[in-house]
Symmetry: C3
Subunit: 159 residues, 3 copies
C-alpha cells in the first residue's frame, strides 16, 4: 500500500503552489491549477457524507473559475482580509494510469485588515488529479470538504 514517493511529492508541490497562490492574493493564477472541464466545489463534511451533490460553491469549467475570480476582484474581498493555508501531506487513495485520487487535510487562517488572525476553517481536499506524461499534475476535481459550516464570506472565497 506504499505510494510512489515522486507522486506524493508532486502532489504536495502542486498543493504548496496552490496555497501560495491564494495566500498571496494571486487569484488570477488560481484557475490554472485545474484541467478543463473540472469540478471545484466547497461543501461541508455532513453534505459530503450524505452525497448531496452541490456545495456552497460549484464550478465545472475553468471559465467558471475565472468568472469567480472576476467577481471577487469586483467585491474587493482580498483587500479586506488575507488567508494562510497550512496543508498536511497528501494521502494517495488510488492511482490508475494518469488518474490519481488523493486527500489533503488543511487549516485556513484569516487575517483581517486590523491584524486579528483567527482560525477560519479546517477540512480536507478530496481531489482527483491528472498526471501528464511529463509528470505535471492538474486538478480535474477538488472538493473542499469543510469540517464545519461557515457563514459569511465563505460563499465568495476560494479555499
Amino acid at each position: 500500500m506504499r505510494a510512489d514517493p515522486a507522486l506524493i511529492l508532486g502532489i504536495s508541490e502542486l498543493n504548496a503552489d496552490y496555497a501560495r497562490c491564494l495566500d498571496d492574493g494571486a487569484l488570477e493564477a488560481w484557475p490554472g491549477f485545474f484541467s478543463d472541464p473540472c469540478l471545484y466545489s466547497i461543501t461541508t463534511r455532513e453534505n459530503y457524507a450524505l452525497r448531496r451533490p452541490v456545495g456552497i460553491i460549484y464550478a465545472d469549467s475553468v471559465d467558471m473559475l475565472t468568472d469567480r475570480v472576476l467577481s471577487l476582484r469586483r467585491a474587493n474581498v482580498y483587500e479586506r482580509q488575507r488567508y494562510r493555508h497550512l496543508l498536511g501531506m497528501p494521502f494517495i487513495r488510488s492511482r490508475d494510469g494518469g488518474q490519481i485520487a488523493s486527500e489533503t487535510p488543511f487549516a485556513v487562517y484569516r487575517i483581517m485588515r486590523d491584524g486579528r488572525t483567527d482560525l477560519f476553517v479546517t477540512g480536507c481536499y478530496m481531489d482527483r488529479l491528472r498526471e501528464s506524461p511529463s509528470a505535471e499534475y492538474s486538478l480535474s476535481e477538488r472538493i473542499v470538504v469543510c469540517d464545519s459550516e461557515i457563514f459569511d464570506t465563505l460563499v465568495a472565497i476560494p479555499l
Copy 2:
C-alpha cells in the same frame, strides 16, 4: 545527518493515514497502526521531561487499544465532536536496522456538533517505528507529548 528520503516519506505516509483514520472517525482501524506489543501513551511535555512513566492514557498491547475503541464507541464520543489533525514532517532521530526513532509535531482542532471549531491541543509524537522488509512501517511506540494539559475529553480520545 541527512535522512533517507524514502524513510521520511514512508513515515509521513503512515502519519497521514493515521490522522485520516482518526479524523474520519474510523476508530476501529486505529489499533492496526501499531505493532504488538506496543506502547501508546498521552502525556504532557512537563511529565515527559521529568520521565514520569505513565501518562493520561496508557496502553501496551493492540488488545488494550482495541478495548479503548470499544469504550469510545459506547461513550458516543465521536458523535459529539470530530477532530482535524495537521501534522508536520517527521524528524528522524535515529535508524538502527529496522528500528527508527522519529518526532512529528502536530496541531489538533476540535469541531463540535454545533460547528464551533477550536484549537484542541498542540504537541509532538515521540515515536519508535518498525520497518518490515517490504518497507511497511508500524508504530512500536507512540508517546503523544502534549504542549499543555487538557482537562475534559482528552482522557478518552486518541490523538
Copy 3:
C-alpha cells in the same frame, strides 16, 4: 517546473529540525542553521511588500544571532512560554547551482505557563539557502514574513 524531490525533502528536513530546535527551547543550536554572514529578519507582510529593509528583528551574522540567544536567556523568555511551529512544505522558487530560493508557510502557537494555548502568528519564511557539495543546507537568508503585526514578545523571540 517540477522541483527536485531530494531538494524539497532536504529543505523540509532543515525546516523540521529548525522548528524542533525552537520548540524544544534549544536556542543555543539555533544560530547553527545559518551560514555566516547571513540575514535573519522578522517583518510583516506589509513591510515586506513595500520593500522596507529593516524588520522587527534584524541580524546579519551568526554572532548577532548568538547575542540574541544570550539576551533571551537573560530575559527568561523561554521559562514563561513555549512555542509550537507547524510548517508547510517548502515551495522552491529557484535553484542556481548551490543557491536556492524557497518559501515555507508557518503557523506558530504559543503555550503559556498556565497552559493556555493560542495561535501566535502565521506567515511565510522567505529563504535563501546554500547547498554544500554533500547536500547539506544552511540558511544564508531567512526573512520571517508575518501575516500580521504582533506587539508584545515578538520583539524578542525567534520564529
